[in-house]
Symmetry: C2
Subunit: 729 residues, 2 copies
């Protein structure tokens, strides 16, 4: 059945991993600098690794329980025997991507600081290439997992009715998406709580009370803060984007298999298309990474231009090559699907620009927040929340227009061609993420530069070096804004595609329940295999007048808020414990402030680790339990309400939290650069309060929502058979 | 056609208005106290009246434009000729209810302060009876409008096909709901911005910077602050609840007319039932108001008990009498509908209790926020937002369970009996609000007590009197929590009922478009009159796989956030202007702080008035424009997505904002009462920041969302014909 083009997928994946290894090797050849720098980097690395080990232990238990559940479901005939294993590998590879990325980052910080002590450009190269390791590992592992599973299932799953085999293969592979999502949620939530508890704690006592600068070695929480950047912003983000990337490809493949089930060879081409776009995009990302070069003594704007050049090059090439791919595959509606890909890329780019507008100190909204700092912390918070909420209008309208256009072009402008149109939405998500290898590199390099700055500060490398790492860090903030746009935008599109996959999984679930299948076939007057999305909507009454749908929507919307509430509170509690510990050390160890005594860094690391471990369980488990519970009570209609309600509210809430947080951060930086009285003024103090509130907004709750949205869909998909069999109402 | 029982409705309405007049007269007989007290009350009264006049002028322009639009639609055949006039009367009566309530409140403040100088009990009686004027005026005017319109339309609209006439009457009457909603939104948003700009401004400079107590006459913003209580918490709330009350009755009547269209006499009974429950509840409210009596020297707990006794008595009596009403009407499914009423009452009560738990300083959540004040304002904000978001889980689950149960009992436990089930949800909303006369009295009395306190402080009435008014005020906070539960809960249920009314209006819209109607009839194979909700869902494809529905949901969810963002920013901007003005006065008029110079109160009043007028336009107009725009682009499916998405996200967002705001307020009070260092401590300062942020949360953005949810539905209903005729996709 395999097409020769398929082999591009494993080849691209191996290329990505080989180049990642190469970048890592050349990173390790760089000097780590002075003894102090080496010592501090080791502290941070050990803390981060210890945390990750601890987290994986906890997650392993969750995976063991869920795997046992899936094995039981396979045993009782509700699922095929590959599901539990696919689930495990998804989690494993996602964790691995985070692990490799973090390992590289912790090796890179001192090296980047040392390189920055030579020149700004040297620093950029080391930090960016280290970020590239992460980017390439994520896409490489995802494509590897996809290719391997596809090959295995192609051999193992028997041919049955025409078209049926690919549907089973692709929906089984979605389970590996659930594994990745589950692992990613724990990584994002746990890492997010860790990093923000440390960050908030360090800032509140260090900056505000003691008046010492960020990353000052006298601050007992400073090592924990730097560990947090690694476990949250690197390992957490790596697992997150691994999941987005794999999820969008898998969901689209499943949609393709379903939409073109009765169209012979076209079906396989539709399954292959998203994988190929990802694979070619990965190769282009490698090319783009090499295009990031600057001359000595480049200004910050030139540096940003250099990064942008790499991303733009990859994006333009993928626009051209995706047209070639679609033609090579011989898909009939080339222009339509190509249109969806281009729309996806444009949508992601636009959301990134909008994010930048609302969060960068170069524009009016953030300047307005900075101005409101003159009247104290309360008005900073009010205007920050107001700006963030208002800002949601633009990404939402962008996604709405992008989605409708991607749907229309893919469906040949026929509104009722659901299957083709939804496939187009999926392809748009794949297009948006196709160059993830390089966009993630520009994103992951931010926390590396941040840590390099921390290392430089703690090692006393001097003002000049710190300035350079700050410049690199601030560059990272801009690329991070774009990165967040892609993460949120692709989450929305992927979740829409997963909705349709849910219906396909229902079909497979019904296949296993002869009585229910017979009732269904009688009601719709077609065989199950020929049933389309509309038939399922009809039979399960998934309309907006069905109270089960409406109640599902309420619960979905509430899940997004409750999830954020739990993670916000977790950060608040852990940060409070951190503040008390730091205050205690300052109080009891008089030598800290004079520099005579080294603070007890380890106790702060322990507090963050413990807090994150304890607090990540409830929100994460709720996300898994909600679709199961709603399914068992309200059935298919309730689940679809839950997923759409969660998506609509969760998407907007995620944008709000990310943008408010980003804007507060930059409003503070704007004041620190001299506006409204500059550092040390009352306005600055007020702005620091805003930034502190924004920390869990933008780095814990907000980004976790992206995963929540998709994880709920994934769980629903995997549990679809049980929902059909057992629902109460 | 009229049934003798109908006459209970106008009788109850007149009774309510007569008793309101009586309470008002006896209030006016009370002394207003010293000359200073009279002068201050006059200042506040004039400021409030001037604001209201200004606001009504602006709203009049909006009404003129919309009325012209409706007249045009009537002329071109898209609507009947009563719609524009019904719209006008709805707005007029809603405004009137707010006006009477506010007039009473501004006359009551000095009188309540004077009465409180005699005894706590005297103070309670004056304040509560003044609140009762508002409660009774609201329900009296609503029932009057309903009864009058019903009588007029019964005469004017010709008999046509059996059952058709009542459908036309009830859907036409819904337009008066839209008038009430439009007026209410402006009142809530404008009043909310006014009151919080003044409050935040007064607190930030007065309490935090100058260190003078609340309502200190030296604070230039203090009169504006007291005016704000009247225009926001009294006039705004009055218009809001007038709209909730009328809306729930009208929506349920429309559902009844539709659900039982082909069942002869039963149809009229179903239309009459919600009106009768409201009418009887009003009479019971009057009885309940008289039951609020306390002995001299009662403790605060006893006072709360006295208020509670009145409410409980009315509620228990309505449970009994609604059973009697349903039997007297001779409705077949008495037990089922009675079940829905009881469930509605219980749901409202439970949400009130949950609100109390999450916002009262007697319980863990608010104590936790107070504790987090020890580590500064940032952790107060983080834990307040976390708590508020988390708290949404309980009201959502309560509404979900209540709705499903109300639906099931009314539909005879048959899930697919949509029309009957939805009628049950409407009846539950009517049940929840049936005793609004007295619950609103206990709610409206809060701001009156608050103003009495302000008057006492400014007139220098001494510590003892201020203590008594504070006790009354704090009592008001508890009843306000319950009141908010009813307002939010009933908004959700009413909005659900309005969804179904939208479909009915579509039916009428199709009647006016012969070609579209023919296409519809052919597609569903039934005549239009026999089409049911499911047929419309089918024909317009209102399923969750239709991208138009999904995009509508995204936009609906975004509308809730954007609306809050705009109102939050409005408060922020207006408050900043206020802060600058107060700072200017303190700076330039040295005599203020020493008490030698009277501050320029009028300039602060003018800033709030101008700010509110300017800032209320955009959010309010967007709320009206969104359903029209979505309808014209995405058609019926998009509109239903918009309404449900807006409802699901808006409800949860409203609960979050109300609860965070309430909890911050009480956490501050808890600290002021001595916890965590008490007044003047750093923890207190941090808590004041929380309270200040919470002000627009709980009194501007949060409560306005209740109206937004319903107004969008009302607009969609009134514009249904145009949507069917002109939609693009």
């Amino acid at each position: 059945m395999l097409n020769d083009l398929f082999w591009i997928v494993p080849i691209a994946s191996i290329l990505a991993l080989v180049f990642a290894y190469g970048f890592f090797k050349s990173l390790m050849k760089e000097s780590e600098g002075t003894e102090t720098m080496i010592k501090i980097a080791k502290h941070v690395r050990e803390g981060a690794m210890a945390y990750l080990k601890q987290q994986y232990k906890v997650v392993a238990i969750v995976f063991a329980v869920l795997t046992a559940l899936f094995a039981l479901m396979a045993f009782t005939g509700f699922q095929n025997g590959f599901v539990w294993f696919a689930f495990l590998t998804g989690g494993f590879f996602s964790g691995l991507a985070g692990f490799f990325g973090m390992k590289t980052a912790t090796y890179a910080s001192a090296r980047a600081a040392h390189a920055a002590s030579k020149s700004l450009n040297k620093g950029l190269q080391v930090a960016f290439r280290s970020g590239a390791v992460m980017g390439l590992v994520v896409v490489g592992l995802a494509l590897l997992d996809i290719a391997l599973w596809f090959l295995v299932l192609d051999i193992m799953i028997p041919e049955s009715d025409p078209g049926h085999k690919l549907v089973v293969i692709t929906t089984t592979m979605l389970t590996f998406g659930m594994g990745a999502s589950t692992q990613a949620l724990f990584a994002r939530v746990g890492g997010g709580i860790y990093t923000k508890a440390a960050d908030v704690g360090a800032d509140l006592v260090g900056k505000v009370e003691a008046g010492i600068p960020e990353d000052d070695p006298r601050n007992p929480a400073t090592i924990a803060d730097n560990v947090g950047d690694n476990v949250g912003d690197v390992a957490g983000m790596g697992a997150d984007l691994y999941e987005s990337y794999a999820g969008s490809i898998l969901a689209t493949a499943a949609l393709g298999a379903a939409a073109f089930m009765h169209e012979g060879a076209l079906q396989f081409k539709a399954v292959l298309a998203p994988m190929l776009i990802g694979a070619v995009g990965t190769i282009l990302s490698i090319i783009g990474i090499y295009a990031v070069r600057t001359k000595e003594g480049a200004s910050q704007k030139e540096l940003l231009g250099a990064l942008g050049k790499g991303v733009d090059l990859s994006s333009i090439l993928i626009i051209i090559l995706s047209w070639v791919i679609l033609n090579a595959l011989g898909i009939p509606n080339v222009w339509g699907l190509w249109g969806s890909i281009v729309i996806g890329l444009l949508t992601g780019w636009l959301i990134g620009k909008e994010t930048e507008y609302f969060t960068s100190e170069a524009y009016k909204p953030t300047k307005g927040i900075a101005e409101s700092a003159e009247t104290g912390p309360a008005t900073v918070i009010i205007s920050g929340i107001g700006t963030g909420m208002l800002s949601t209008a633009f990404p939402v309208l962008t996604i709405v227009i992008g989605t409708i256009l991607a749907y229309l072009t893919a469906s040949g402008f026929v509104m009722v061609n659901y299957a083709e149109g939804l496939y187009g939405i999926g392809i748009a998500a794949v297009g948006m993420l196709s160059t993830l290898g390089i966009t993630l590199a520009t994103d992951a390099y931010g926390p590396i530069a941040d840590n390099a700055g921390g290392n430089a500060e703690m090692s006393g490398l001097g003002e000049e070096v710190r300035k350079r790492t700050d410049a690199l860090d601030s560059l990272g903030n801009t690329t991070a804004a774009t990165g967040k746009g892609f993460a949120i935008g692709s989450a929305a599109l992927t979740a829409l595609a997963l909705l349709a996959s849910y219906i396909e999984e229902l079909k497979i679930g019904l296949h296993r329940l002869p009585e229910k299948a017979a009732a269904f076939e009688q009601a719709i007057g077609k065989t199950l295999d020929h049933a389309n999305l509309a038939d399922f909507m009809d039979y399960y009454n998934v309309t907006l007048m069905n109270p089960k749908v409406l109640m599902g929507m309420f619960i979905g919307s509430m899940m997004a808020f409750m999830f954020c509430g739990l993670t916000m509170q977790a950060v608040g509690r852990a940060a409070q414990a951190m503040v008390e510990e730091v205050r205690r050390q300052f109080r009891e160890m008089k030598g800290i402030m004079t520099g005579e005594t080294e603070p007890d860094y380890a106790s702060c690391v322990a507090i963050s680790t413990k807090g994150a471990q304890k607090e990540m369980m409830i929100p994460s488990l709720l996300a898994i339990a909600a679709p199961i519970a709603v399914g068992l009570i309200f059935g298919v209609a309730g689940v679809m309400g839950l997923l759409t309600g969660g998506l609509a509210a969760g998407f907007v809430l995620a944008v709000f939290m990310a943008n408010s947080g980003g804007a507060w951060d930059n409003a503070k930086k704007y004041i620190e650069a001299g506006a409204h009285g500059g550092k040390g003024s009352d306005a600055h103090k007020a702005a620091v309060t805003g930034d502190t509130v924004g920390d869990p907004f933008k780095d814990t709750s907000g980004p976790s929502l992206n995963i929540l949205i998709k994880l709920m869909s994934m769980v629903a998909i995997v549990m679809a058979g049980a929902t059909v069999a057992f629902s109460l109402l």
